[in-house]
Symmetry: C5
Subunit: 83 residues, 5 copies
């Protein structure tokens, strides 16, 4: 999974049926790359999240038939260097 | 999903049967990378779109047996920084 | 799908059974990256082709049990900027 | 599979149900890229591990319904140049 | 598929069950990137090989339940620019 930050939402009137009513978030990696993910956890702009890609992205949605290749898996509270 | 811009169409007389009659669009990322996607939503040159890759690309087609690894999922109207 | 150019063929005496008798082509992207693809369409050196990756690569073969992650999907005649 | 080093753990109160109670580790590649993986082998910070991605990541978990795209496959004792 | 060179073997006492007794090889791309692959063809250090990734990596193993995302598909004898 990747670590990314939510920077906004995406509005798309014309889209394929398989995405349902899921919110689409615009994410930015720490290298500045933008991606679009569906959001089943309710993240807000500024949140750091981790994302699941590939077929895991579909299964991570409440409806596994959602046609996504990137899904927000969780909101990061903090991460701790071990030991 | 990725954000890309439609820059043209691709003509291929010899192609595998599994792509049916789907239109093939040439897309460009904001870093200049070119890709080819099938287009079930009817995008035009200049449109900014988001794309689904991997197995999600197949399911996003009207015929899930379309042998694509990249499909246009929607045309972006605009995106809004939240908050 | 990606746009690549055929630059040669690959000879491999020892290979896994699952690739059958498919021809293996060496392809080069416009950034110089080399890849190996199976070729169900009969491309020649110098041809520009588009390729399907991931699970779509397997389904694009006449025998869907071909164990490939990259398959030539078609030979590009030309591409046209729209409009 | 990729070679990466464990540098910490991730705490996420809000996450999708499909990750169960698996530990989430933060990994760093030798190029400095950070990723998040589930850890069924019990790695510690500082360990060098190899990771399985894609659908293999799910199957490498005790519960194959874990919705991960990156799983630690083993802790590297050492690697030996052959011959 | 990618072209890579075998540079060594990997020893991992603690690893997930799903990799069976397959040998793990360390491979290097021509850009210096290191990866780990299972080896059903018996490659030696110095050999140039091509690799299958994703779900094809699993199917290319004698036991399709091997939890790998990278498998050596064949040893390259030579490659010939066509024509």
């Amino acid at each position: 999974m990747e670590i990314m930050q939510v920077i906004g939402s995406l509005v798309c009137t014309h889209r394929v049926a398989g995405l349902g009513h899921m919110h689409l978030r615009v994410l930015r990696s720490n290298k500045g790359k933008l991606s679009v993910a569906v959001d089943p956890v309710g993240a807000s702009a500024g949140n750091w999240v981790f994302t699941a890609s590939g077929s895991a992205a579909r299964f991570a949605c409440p409806d596994p038939n959602t046609y996504t290749d990137l899904t927000i898996g969780g909101i990061i509270d903090f991460w701790a260097p071990d030991g």
